[in-house]
Amino acid sequence: MKKFLVTMCALLVCPPALAYLDPGTGSMLLQVLLGGVAAIGVALKLYWHRFTSFFQRGKSATGNDPGE
C-alpha cells in the first residue's frame, strides 16, 4: 500500500521553485502516507485534487516565478 502511495507521490511531483523552500510541506504530506489504511481515502482525495490541478496549471502557467 505504502509503495503504491509512494509511486503516486513520485509521479505527481512538481519541480521545486527556486524561491524559499518550506521543508514543513513535505513532512506534512508524509503524515498522510504514514496514516496507513486509515489514510487511503485522504490520500486519494488529496492526490486527485493535485492531479487535476496539475493539468489545470499546465494550461494556464505563465512560467514566471515571482522570486524575491
Binding site: Y20, S27, M28, A38, K45
Partner: protein, 471 residues
C-alpha cells in the same frame, strides 16, 4: 526604557511569540500572551494534563497572582498573565545525554502527545530542549507547547521530532554513530537530507528508515517549493486526528524498539580494572566520604565519574551530583541502574571540549558552569588525562579549578604509576610540570589544603582543598 539584566528574558525562550521565561532570584517565571493564557486555562481543565501533573510528567506549574510577579513594570506590561514553574536544576541538553536518556525523552514526548490528542490538544513543539530530568526522570517544561488541535491539521511538531529525536536515535542505534556532536553542531538537530545521506544503502531497510528518513527527504525536496497551501489541501481532503494518532502510535513503537549500540569500552569495567589494592580502594572511598560529609555541597560535579561509584558516595552528602564523563557506555550503565539515587544525573562532558555558549546571541544554550556551578568538584584520576593526553599545562589546570569551584577533592596520580606510564609510552615526555610537589604548590596558589591522603602504593595522593575567600 532600559531593561535591567535581572528582567531580561532567558536567552533560549525567544522562539514562542506567546510566552517568555524569566529567571528572577532563582524563580522561574513565564509571561503569557492572552492566547497562551486562555490555552493554559483550557489545558488545566483537561484530565490528561491533570494526570500528567500527578504522574510527574510535566513540571509543577501554577498561576501567579499579579502582585506576586517579581518583575518590573516594563516586563509585566508585556504579558497578559504569569505562571511560575518549579525550578529544575540543572538544565541539561540532549547533546549531554546518553542514548537511553534521549530515548526516554522521546517516549515522554510521544506519550504526552497521544494522551493530549484524546482531548483535542496537541504539542506544537517536539524538541528535547523542552524536556528536563527531574529526580532522574524526564519531564516536559514547556507547558505552552500544548495547544488546541485545529481540526484537519497534521502534527506540526512531526518534522522537529524527527530531526531532534528520531534521527539521532536511529543514527546511534543503526549506525553506532554518536548523536551528541551532531546535536551540538546544529541547534535544530539533524536535517532530514543529512539523515538520509547517513542512513543509506542497507540502512534504508531498517525499521522506520524508508518512511521517516528516505521518503521524507524526497517529499521535502520535491514539495518544499510548492506554492500550494498544503495545510488547507489536507484539511479539504479530510485529514483527521485518527491519522495523527496512528502515526504517533507507530512512532512510539519504533522508538521503544531502538536499542543502544554500545560496545564494552576501555572504561567499561573500570571498577575491576583499577590498578591499586582493595585496601587502598577502601581508604580512597573513606577519604572521599569524609570530605563530602564535611563539605555538604549543594552541587557536586564528579568529573571522570565512570559508572558512578564515587558519585554514589557524593550523592549521600550532596543535593545534586552530576556524574560527568567522556565515556558513553559508562554513563549509559549508570543511567540504567535501577538503584541509581535520583540526585545523580549522568552527563557526557569533556572538560577539554565542554558544552559551549551558543545559539542566538550565544545565549540560547549555555555552558555547564553557567547552568550548574559546582560547590565541590570531585576529580579522581583525571589530572593525568588532562595534562598529558590533553596537553594542558598543570598550572593552567589548577587555574581552571580555581575559576570553577570553591572546593575540590582531587587525586594526583604520580608519574611512576603504570597508568601514567601507559599515557607516556609513545610520547616525547615534555611534561616536567607533571609532578606531585609541583601540583601541591600550584594548588596552594588558590586553595588551602584541608586534608591529604597518600595511598599505600605511594603513587596516588588525594587532596581536599578549599578556597578560603569563596564560601
Amino acid at each position: 526604557m532600559s531593561t535591567s539584566p535581572e528582567y531580561r528574558p532567558e536567552g533560549g525562550s525567544f522562539r514562542d511569540r506567546n510566552s517568555r521565561v524569566y529567571v528572577v532570584d532563582g524563580r522561574i517565571v513565564r509571561g503569557l500572551s492572552r492566547k497562551a493564557l486562555e490555552a493554559f486555562d483550557a489545558l488545566t481543565a483537561t484530565a490528561f494534563y491533570q494526570r500528567a501533573v500527578s504522574d510527574g510528567h510535566v513540571v509543577p506549574t501554577w498561576k501567579m497572582a499579579p502582585e506576586d510577579v517579581p518583575l518590573n513594570e516594563h516586563a509585566r506590561g508585556q504579558w497578559e498573565g504569569f505562571l511560575e514553574h518549579e525550578r529544575i536544576q540543572p538544565v541539561t541538553y540532549a547533546y549531554e545525554w546518553t542514548f537511553s536518556m534521549l530515548k526516554a525523552a522521546a517516549g515522554l514526548t510521544l506519550d504526552l502527545l497521544e494522551s493530549a490528542l484524546e482531548e483535542d490538544f496537541t504539542l506544537k513543539d517536539a524538541t528535547p530542549y523542552n524536556i528536563q530530568f527531574r529526580h532522574g526522570q524526564p519531564v516536559l517544561i514547556d507547558i505552552p507547547s500544548f495547544e488546541h488541535l485545529r481540526p484537519g491539521s497534521p502534527w506540526v511538531g512531526y518534522r522537529q521530532f524527527c530531526e531532534m529525536f528520531l534521527f539521532p536515535l536511529m543514527l546511534h542505534s543503526y549506525r553506532g554513530l554518536d548523536f551528541q556532536p551532531l546535536l551540538r553542531a546544529g541547534i535544530d538537530g539533524i536535517d532530514v537530507q543529512q539523515a538520509s545521506r547517513m542512513l543509506h544503502g542497507r540502512d534504508r531497510f531498517r525499521r522506520g528508515v524508508m518512511s521517516h528518513v528516505w521518503l521524507q527527504s524526497k517529499l521535502v525536496a520535491r514539495h518544499g517549493g510548492t506554492e500550494r497551501k498544503v495545510g488547507q489541501d489536507l484539511e479539504k481532503a479530510g485529514f483527521n486526528k485518527a491519522l495523527i494518532q496512528a502515526n504517533v502510535r507507530r512512532l512510539r513503537k519504533l522508538v521503544s524498539r531502538l536499542e543502544g549500540s554500545d560496545d564494552i569500552t576501555e572504561w567499561g569495567n573500570y571498577a575491576e580494572m583499577h590498578n591499586y589494592s582493595a585496601e587502598d580502594h577502601q581508604r580512597k572511598e573513606a577519604f572521599v566520604e569524609a570530605c563530602l560529609a564535611k563539605a555538604k555541597p549543594g552541587m557536586t560535579w564528579d568529573v571522570g565519574s565512570n559508572d558512578g561509584q564515587f558519585s554514589r558516595i557524593a550523592a549521600r552528602h550532596s543535593q545534586q551530583v552530576l556524574a560527568l564523563d567522556v565515556d558513553h557506555s559508562s554513563l549509559e550503565r549508570l543511567y540504567c541502574q535501577e538503584d541509581r539515587p535520583d540526585n545523580i544525573l549522568p552527563l557526557l562532558h569533556n572538560v577539554l571540549d565542554p558544552s559551549p555558549n551558543w545559539g542566538w546571541r550565544l545565549r540560547e544554550r549555555r555552558d555547564l558552569p553557567h547552568r550548574a556551578p559546582p560547590d565541590l568538584l570531585l576529580c579522581l584520576a583525571v589530572i593525568h588525562h588532562v595534562v598529558i593526553t590533553g596537553h594542558v599545562p598543570l598550572d593552567d589546570f589548577v587555574d581552571w579549578l580555581a575559576e570553577i569551584t570553591p572546593a575540590v577533592v582531587i587525586e594526583f596520580v604520580d608519574r611512576s604509576d603504570d597508568r601514567v606510564q601507559a599515557l607516556l609510552r609513545n610520547k616525547a615526555d615534555e611534561y616536567e610540570d607533571y609532578d606531585h610537589d609541583a601540583f601541591r604548590l600550584s594548588l596552594q596558589r588558590y586553595f588551602t589544603i584541608e586534608s591529604k591522603l597518600t595511598l599505600d602504593s605511594g603513587r596516588r595522593h588525594l587532596f581536599y582543598a578549599r578556597q578560603p575567600d569563596r564560601s
